[in-house]
Each structure stands twice: as structure tokens, then as C-alpha cells.
């Protein structure tokens, strides 16, 4: 897995690439925590090149969503591949996360 973070106006984009599983989910959890501790309240996760997510990865997304919601922030996702979309549906995540098909649609959610 590779995580690239970029500042885009008022929000931070996380591009997660490759495979998010039980061997590396803690790396992503630490990165979310670091950004939130640094004051980021608006996060966009771009899953365009994320190929695989197991329940360990879902857990990290849920922790970040809950934390940002508590702090009055936003956690938005976009570009889910079909395999990830399927896991989001099975786990009911599709109804609790803000998921958009494209990055352009997703970025409209944020206050600039």
C-alpha cells in the first residue's frame, strides 16, 4: 500500500494505492490520526488506485469517519472500484459514508 497526501484548498486528499489489509492497516490509521491531530477537519479519500480492502481497512475508515464527525469535520470518499464498492455494500458502509463517483463531485462537498 502507498499513501500520498496532498493539500487541496481547505481539504486534504488521501490517495491510497494498492492493497489495504491486516498487514498494513495501522500505517493508514497512524496517517489519519497524524493529519487530524495537525488540525485537518476535511478529508477526501481517493480510492482510484485502491485494489483491495479487508475488514481491517474498513475499520480504519470507520474510526476516521467517527472521529471527524465528532470534531465537526468531513470525511468523504470517491472513485471506489467495483470490488471495494461491493465490500462497502455488504458491510453497510455505503449508507454511512459520503461516497462519490468522481473527485470533482466529491470536492464540491467541502467549504472553501
Amino acid at each position: 500500500m502507498e499513501i500520498v497526501t496532498k493539500k487541496d484548498n481547505s481539504f486534504t486528499v488521501f490517495e491510497i494505492k494498492g492493497r489495504l489489509d491486516t498487514t498494513n492497516y495501522l500505517d493508514l490509521e497512524k496517517e489519519f490520526t497524524r493529519q487530524i491531530d495537525n488540525g485537518d477537519r476535511q478529508i477526501l479519500v481517493d480510492c482510484d488506485r485502491l485494489d483491495y480492502v479487508s475488514s481491517s481497512g474498513l475499520r480504519v475508515f470507520l474510526i476516521a469517519l467517527k472521529e471527524l464527525k465528532k470534531l465537526g469535520g468531513k470525511f468523504v470518499m470517491c472513485n471506489l472500484q467495483n470490488s471495494i464498492q461491493e465490500i462497502f455494500e455488504i458491510s453497510g458502509f455505503i449508507s454511512i459514508f459520503d461516497v462519490y463517483q468522481t473527485k470533482d463531485e466529491a470536492r464540491k462537498v467541502f467549504n472553501n
Partner: protein, 143 residues
Amino acid sequence: MIRQKPNNKYSLTIKNQLSEIKKIVEVIDVLSADWNISAKMNNHLNLVVEEIVSNIIFYAYSDKNEHEIIIEFAKQKNSITIQITDNGKHFDLIKYHGNVNVNAKVEDRKIGGLGIHILKKLVDEIEYKRMGNLNVIKLVKCI
């Protein structure tokens, strides 16, 4: 260790360490190519095996010793059977419900418990047996 046996079977023995999961990914890639399995099925096999094996590594052992987990794949005409054997504590995942409520609001969603829920949604049959000191889980996934 990867061992290809005759009659469309693969087996793999790993240690109870999370880093061993990458060996499972490799074997599933090899058998997917061999058996001409779709990317979607490859993804499902990875999820099913990872959820069980990570559960075993996290919760099955009360000591710090090294243990072996055996994973076997067999292809039938219209299905794939996966058998996972460990010598950890007795755990019948069929009886485990984990209280996952997929309709709960975000504030009420509990962290964790999702792995077994996903696994049960992705397979067509699950069988659990306690044989001596072994947990033997057999899963069938239709192709």
C-alpha cells in the same frame, strides 16, 4: 511453503504472524492463473482467507509460541473448497454473530466484528469441526 498437488489442489502452511498473509496472496494469484479464475473471485478468495487467518492470529493463541496454520484449496467443477486448520483455542465461527448491524447510524456502528460478517456473505457454505485440538473450517464458494 506452496505445494501443488495433483487433482487441482494447492496447500500452504504459514506461521501465526501477520506478515505471512502475503504468502496467501501469492498462492491465490498462482491458482487463479492456473484455474482461470476471475479477478472478482480472486478478490473474494483473498478476503475470505484473510478474514479467517487474521482472526486466528489475533485471537486463537494464548501463548507466544509459533504455530502453524494450514490452508488448502481444491477446485471442483463449479466450486472451490477452502479448508483452514489451526491448533488454537476452540472457536466455532458459525455460532459467532458479532452483533454487526449494517443498518446502524454511524454514531452507533461498532468498530470491529466486520470480518466474519463479510466472510459469511461471500461464501456459499461453511462447515466447522473441532477435531482433537484442531479447528477445521471448510468453506465452499461457487464459481
